[in-house]
């Protein structure tokens, strides 16, 4: 068994060892160093950076738990937005499909930096979004989106959705249409056939998308940096600030170690759940 698997896994694992594991050793080591006088790094062996974060409820609630919540929320909304789109695209072909794909990918292609232009115009106090909502009588006072967590979530959804569409599409397309027909035949309407057949069979793609987007959201720093304000203490942004604005590499490293562990735990949880529910049944072994 290992004879067949090892050659397959070794290129990726080797690359990870060389270019992730070794560099991360440095990060790990740095997390025990000290920042002296807020300016320069002193070699040390202290747990200070960890205790500073982990014993401070404010950090735990407003940074860690906050990031997890926002990441989960944005990921969930992305999934809800992406699924119908993927379903629809899977049914199209030719030019229509290409156009839809292009539209889906466009936000990614342009990149966040420039898109923020458009979003400012939409989000600002008297911007399009507020004008529209007020015109539609959803609310009557302008609501703050820009430099606010609402805007951050909307943007995370905006960026996450195309990733999920992409990773779902292939799984949905490969579902044998006979399987849906068979379900319809035993009395499932479209909706039931979708829930019982298409959805479970699309879970590999969904899971892939979920993991990717969750991780992206959890570690996000560019979106909170540009759309959020000082209150938006997403952990990715905090790390970025500590490392690059405050020069506090030791603390940033410690935060990274914490973040990687939390993220790994969450993903392990997700994969255990997904595996239990469905993935293990789809694994192609003969």
């Amino acid at each position: 068994m290992t004879r067949r698997i090892l050659p397959l896994l070794s290129p990726a694992l080797l690359a990870l060892l060389l270019f992730v594991a070794f560099p991360m050793v440095w990060v790990f080591r740095t997390s025990f160093n000290e920042l002296a006088e807020g300016a320069y790094i002193v070699e040390a062996m202290t747990l200070e950076n960890y205790t500073r974060f982990l014993t401070e409820p404010w950090y735990l609630v407003n940074t860690l738990w906050f990031s997890v919540r926002i990441a989960l929320l944005a990921t969930a909304i992305s999934v809800i937005c992406a699924y119908p789109v993927a379903l629809y695209i899977a049914k199209t072909s030719g030019l229509q499909r290409n156009v839809l794909m292009a539209l889906t990918m466009a936000p990614l292609l342009i990149g966040l930096v420039t898109l923020v232009y458009g979003w400012i115009v939409i989000f600002r106090g008297g911007g399009l979004m507020n004008s529209l909502m007020i015109a539609l009588r959803v609310y009557d006072q302008p609501v703050r989106y820009m430099w606010d967590i609402k805007g951050v979530v909307i943007l995370l959804v905006y960026i996450g959705t195309p990733y999920i569409v992409l990773s779902l599409l292939d799984s949905i397309e490969r579902i044998n249409p006979f399987l849906v027909e068979a379900a319809r035949n035993v009395g499932a309407n479209r909706w039931t056939a979708f829930w019982k057949i298409v959805f479970p069979l699309s879970t590999p793609g969904l899971y892939a998308g979920l993991v990717i987007v969750f991780s992206l959201n959890f570690a996000a720093f560019a979106v909170p940096l540009m759309i959020g304000d000082s209150n938006t203490q997403m952990i990715g942004l905090v790390i970025y600030r500590e490392a690059l604005l405050n020069n506090d590499l030791p603390f940033a490293s410690a935060l990274s170690v914490i973040m990687v562990s939390v993220n790994a735990l969450l993903i392990l949880g997700m994969s255990a759940l997904a595996g239990r529910l469905i993935l293990s049944r789809l694994e192609a072994k003969r």
Binding site: A39, I120, R124, G126, S230, L244
Partner: protein, 318 residues
Amino acid sequence: EDCALRVTTWGGSYQATYQAVAQKFEEEHNCRIEWVVGASPDHLIKARLGQVDVVTNTLLNSIAGEKEGLWQKLDPAKIPNMANLYPNAVHSPYTVFANVGDYVLAYNKDTVTTVPATWDELWKPEYKNRVVIYGIDHIPTLSLTVLQAEKNGGSIDNVEPGLDRMAELIKSGNLIGSLDVESQMVSLFETGDAWLGMLATGRMKELLSKGVTNVSFVRPEEGTFPLITSVNIHKDAKNPAMAAAFVNYILSSEVQVAFATRNLYAPTVKNAEIPDDFEFRDLLVLNDAFGRLYLPDQEKITANKAGWQQQLNQKAMR
């Protein structure tokens, strides 16, 4: 032989000015300049790794680098132009200021009818959701905090009153945001969303040159917060002589004037002559304006800002 000098710069217009003036240097010294473009922190990191020769820095970085022993002393013998520096433009034997801008109080003339005279204006209730300031870990905001501490019975060593004031500002709902991206502040003034706020002079110029006529600026009585570009030579510079020559070149009146007129970064040398007809002359921190810069002890700020931020976060959110 192949001579290359690695110089850090910020991208965009700063780099553009640098490149424009550097051509002459390259020809004269027969040495190519490799621009190491990046955000301020990159400059420090690259310096730590010995990837650069001349470092264009923020003052904060220069101080950190000094503590870590990254720089070599600037030798006035090799950098004759150092003689022309204003006295307060020499931070230490390692660090001098290359140029200086400041953060002024910008306001919308249509909505702010009386010219504001003090930074305290930002707290006024009528400006709900109309004020912009820089993010709380940026120098101007930190300086404002210290300023407020001093005005409210504290000092840089007892910054609590300042933090309370800042928390008050945050909770007042006046702030549209405390932003990390400067260019967004410009657009807020442009669209009329922001009525009042801090703005770097360089951004102010941008606004004006875009034809925005209803935004003006004032230097409040407490003084303005400086935006300092410092310069250092790396201790392991490959070619120290060439590095010194380049620093000397930066301090030449020619380059100083170029940065002043193109980027609104005021000269730090006395002999730089700004043309009288220069359109944005008021925006430059010239001669005596230097003295009015509010420049609290940068080292203390650096040492304490992490703690301050955390305190402020807690005060503002609870």
